[in-house]
Amino acid sequence: MFIEISNVHKQYGDKNNHQVDILKDINLGVNKGEFVSILGPSGCGKSTLLSIVAGLTPASSGEIIVSGKKIDKPGKDRGMVFQQAALFPWLNVLENVLFPLKQEMPKKQAEAEAKKQLQKVQLSKYLSHYPHELSGGMQQRVAIARALAMNPEILLMDEPFGALDEQTRSRLHEQLETIWAETQKTILFVTHSISESIKLSDRIIVMGTKPGVILKDIKVEIPRPRHEHKKEMVELEEYIMSYLKKEIDKVIREELADESTH
């Protein structure tokens, strides 16, 4: 296995100092080049799990091994794309993509590399634009180019298209699929959208909430390009929905209960 997540637990102290389980008994293996979605309702700890893989959040126990090495801090082998593009507003598009390459290679080479990545996301015409001049979808494409620029083995994506409108999201799905096919990166993709996970991934990890556990590991056998297989996609969606429904109901019930006690 390329990524091995074994027995990962995560606990947080809540406001009454009780330990709350965010993630429990997470065991997951991911092959090199695989596109794996982590799907679950809000609050299931899927973003926390990604953050642990990124090395930004320490696990309470358990370990994560990436190509034989234990993860204890962020590294350039794992590029991350967040829900907000997190571009640096004082740098233009090219400089943002150059950011991870500075001090890594000579300036000329870095610039060529950054331009190559920006071409991949079709933003070659916007090199000198500043983030505030770009739409949300364009910003997210710059963020993807920036993550790809340091040539990571793994791309970690935390609901990267969650804040975008439907049409933009759909176009970015296609671009991401192309990039993935070209670069053969391993992608861990966190989402709460069932259709998004079906459209993109080889495998879908369905998570339940309170505590966050893995409910089901589903292999998506639908051939690509998937938009030609609408029927299978709908069937799979209904199948996954049946798993998630209980979890979503649980979240809503608890939120309503919270409401009535306040």
């Binding site: 930004l56 590294g75 350039k76 967040f82 997190a86 004082w90 950011f99 001090q103």
Partner: protein, 251 residues
């Protein structure tokens, strides 16, 4: 109507009223001299170069004082943002000092440094430092955690994280802090000069007042106001606006 035209009409009306009132002797010239007298005093002042020397002297002090206060303020601000202990102890003192108009330090400053420029510069430094400190502190504390996370995933840590992410992200606060520091320092400078020694705009103001040259008093007041407006509106507010815009902070 164009705001510039509105403004011109407004000022023309004030000057017309001032002129008419002076001509018809609605008030004594010692209370408010006529516009011609003020203009005359300004022309004389510039011709015999008194006002030019004053401007140079005042700006020299301002440059030294403001420069020092920006440097000290930034240093203190970084310290308060990064050290919880410093924030809990020194931070309280900074807040207290910030609420004291810096001119009240002048008597003490004169005892320490003598009746000279150093005392005035000291007051100017105190005027600008703390507001800069508080802005830098907030600026560094407010850097989006997302920027820091993103930088970490790109392998940037330690001093590089400060140099490449935290300081640039705090620049809007540096600009606002500098603008406020300038405003406080400019007021402190005028007060300091008025109460101590010359040359300088504030000193000439008091000198003119002592000799009953009310034309010059008003002339100097106009110069002080014009400089303040130019620096604030034309320089700082423009920089601030473009920085806030680029940093995506304007509303």
């Amino acid at each position: 109507m164009n705001p510039h035209i509105k403004r011109i009409i407004f000022f023309a009306a004030i000057i017309a009223f001032w002129y008419t009132g002076s001509k018809l002797e609605w008030w004594m010239p010692i209370i408010l001299p006529s516009p011609e007298k003020v203009l005359e005093a300004l022309i004389t002042g510039f011709e015999d170069k008194t006002l030019i020397y004053d401007l140079i002297a005042s700006f020299k002090r301002l440059a030294i004082g403001l420069g020092l206060s920006l440097v000290i303020g930034t240093g203190l601000g970084v310290l308060l943002a990064k050290s919880k202990t410093a924030d809990e102890t020194l931070g309280t003192v900074v807040l207290a000092f910030q609420s004291v108009p810096s001119i009240v330090w002048l008597p003490l400053a004169i005892m320490w440094f003598g009746m000279n420029e150093k005392a005035v510069i000291f007051v100017v430094v105190l005027g600008g430092t703390f507001v800069m400190t508080l802005n830098i502190r907030v600026g560094i504390k407010n850097v989006s955690p997302l920027f820091i996370k993103a930088a970490k995933t790109m392998g940037v840590t330690g001093w590089n994280l400060y140099k490449r992410v935290i300081f640039p992200a705090a620049i809007p606060y540096v600009v606002t802090g500098s603008r406020l520091a300038w405003a406080f320092a400019w007021r402190a400078l005028m007060a300091g000069e008025l109460l101590s020694t010359g040359p300088g705009l504030g000193y000439t103001l008091r000198y003119a007042s002592d000799f009953g040259n009310m034309g010059l008093v008003i002339g100097v007041m106009i110069i002080i106001g014009v400089i303040g407006t130019i620096v604030d509106q034309l320089i700082f507010q423009r920089i601030e606006k473009s920085v806030l815009n680029r940093w995506g902070l304007d509303s």
